[in-house]
Amino acid sequence: MALVRLDAWLGEFGAPRETEAQASDVEGLLMDLESRYPRLRYRLRDEAGAVRRFVRIFVDGRDILQSEGLRTPLGAHAVVDILHSIAGG
């Protein structure tokens, strides 16, 4: 089971700060989260399925953009952080 730590701002969409998820890659993990917390749907990803520009996802501390993106595999004890990026002003 992967440990998922979610951005505190996502609480407004009903997401917990921390949860566990069973998935073999990041896309599967997001689908699992979106199914358990429906208001997260289209908030982390747009309707085309792409991760939104200012959402950052890290697997075991590594940005998935520097790995295999949504296909990034998850180990049995992976730690996944979903955060908003530094942007705005």
């Binding site: 701002w9 289209y42 309707e47 085309a48 792409a50 200012f54 705005g88």
Partner: protein
């Protein structure tokens, strides 16, 4: 008889505000707390068919666009459905995305328009990229309006500086099947059959940024409002100048004479005083007000002439204003409300005779709408 308070709804760069009249004379105002903190809110609109119901088009830089609804004049909000663009395989023309993309995501929600009183659960929503959606269940679900979204001229549409957006929606009060929409930079379109077929209605509107002087489409319309007294009278602020149509948008007449520049974004027309429209002309190069101060110009259809509603030093400075930044209430005399891109809210409770500024510095204002009862 005591009337309900006037409420001003502001969509700003950092969230939504509701400003409520305090003493029933449109001179004292109470600013409510910030809602949707941190998000760009392009349009906040009360639904006159359901007093207390308000919609907000919230475009979060992090979490994307979403439609929110309040049932208590903006004190609390909950999310309704956000429309989705149809999958690429399900639609006819290309929306401009790469061929390997299954769908182009919706970027920003622009204008939400409550439908006719005869269709009390109907809403219309204009978005970026260029598209119109319709809901018949108060925003629980949305359907794309294919007649305009798949229009044969679509390949000639281009984005304005604000993106490829559908930003103006007008519904004929006598016939809900007759509607008008404005898109940048495509121009105005009219339907007479509830949205199945749309005709470009941009005759005589100049396009100084295109090789053709008066093309059928391609106009960068900024905003259009209808006159409350004459069904076929409309006022148009276009990139190419200020225009009036007296024939249901079959043709347009430029009314620049008497103005130093007729560029601008905002236009409003008061329900209680037909035959008048208010504009905030801007310098076409700087996109700022001219002559060192804010100014609202009144167009009179009866006199066919302009007059300024402010002294030159009423609000000194250089100001910008967005397309939805000017609004009127429905009282007599009409109140006029102007929100600037730098967060000032100027208002007149008496059709421009006197002016005041709400003593609160807002974030940059995208949109101003007003809810008020009819009467005096």
């Amino acid at each position: 008889m005591k009337r309900a308070p006037v409420r001003i709804f502001l969509g700003t760069r950092k969230g939504t505000y509701v400003v409520e009249e305090n003493a029933g004379n449109r001179r004292r105002w109470k600013v409510g707390p910030l809602s949707h903190p941190g998000s760009d809110v392009f349009h906040v609109v009360p639904d006159p068919r359901h007093p207390g119901t308000v919609y907000a088009n919230v475009n979060s830089g992090f979490w994307g666009p979403m439609v929110l609804r309040s049932r208590n004049w903006g004190r609390t909000w909950s999310e309704v459905a956000t429309p989705l663009l149809p999958r690429r395989k399900d639609r006819k023309p290309d929306f401009g995305e790469g061929t390997d993309s299954p769908s182009l995501p919706l970027t920003n929600l622009w204008h939400l328009e409550p439908g006719s009183p005869k269709e009390p659960r109907t809403l219309f929503l204009g978005v970026d990229p260029h598209a119109l959606f319709r809901s018949d269940d108060e925003g629980q679900s949305w359907s794309p309006v294919g007649g305009i979204n798949d229009h044969p001229t679509r390949s000639q549409w281009t984005p304005g500086f604000g993106g490829p957006c559908l930003h103006t929606i007008l519904i004929d009060p006598d016939d809900a099947r007759r509607m008008f929409v404005g898109l940048s930079a495509a121009g105005m379109f009219r339907t007479e059959d509830g949205g199945e077929h749309w005709t470009p209605v941009n005759r005589h509107v100049a396009t100084p940024y295109l090789p053709q002087k008066f093309p059928e489409v391609g106009q960068c319309v900024h905003h259009v409002v209808a006159d409350a007294g004459r069904r076929d009278l409309f006022y148009r602020q276009d990139h190419g100048g200020i225009y009036v149509s007296r024939d249901g948008m079959d043709s347009w007449v430029r009314i620049k004479k008497g103005l130093p520049d007729d560029f601008g974004f905002a236009v409003a027309s008061p329900a209680a005083s037909p035959g008048r429209a208010y504009f905030v002309p801007l310098n076409s190069r700087t996109r700022l007000t001219m002559s060192g101060g804010f100014q609202v110009m009144e167009w009179s259809e009866e006199r066919r002439s302009w007059r300024p509603l402010m002294g030159p030093q009423t609000f000194p400075g250089d100001f910008g204003i967005h397309r939805e930044g000017l609004a009127c209430d429905s009282l007599d005399p009409p109140g006029i409300y102007a929100g600037t891109t730098t967060g000032q809210l100027f208002l007149s409770p008496d059709a421009g005779k006197s002016w005041q500024q709400v003593p609160y510095q807002f974030p940059g204002i995208h949109s101003v709408t007003v809810s008020s009862p009819r009467g005096s």
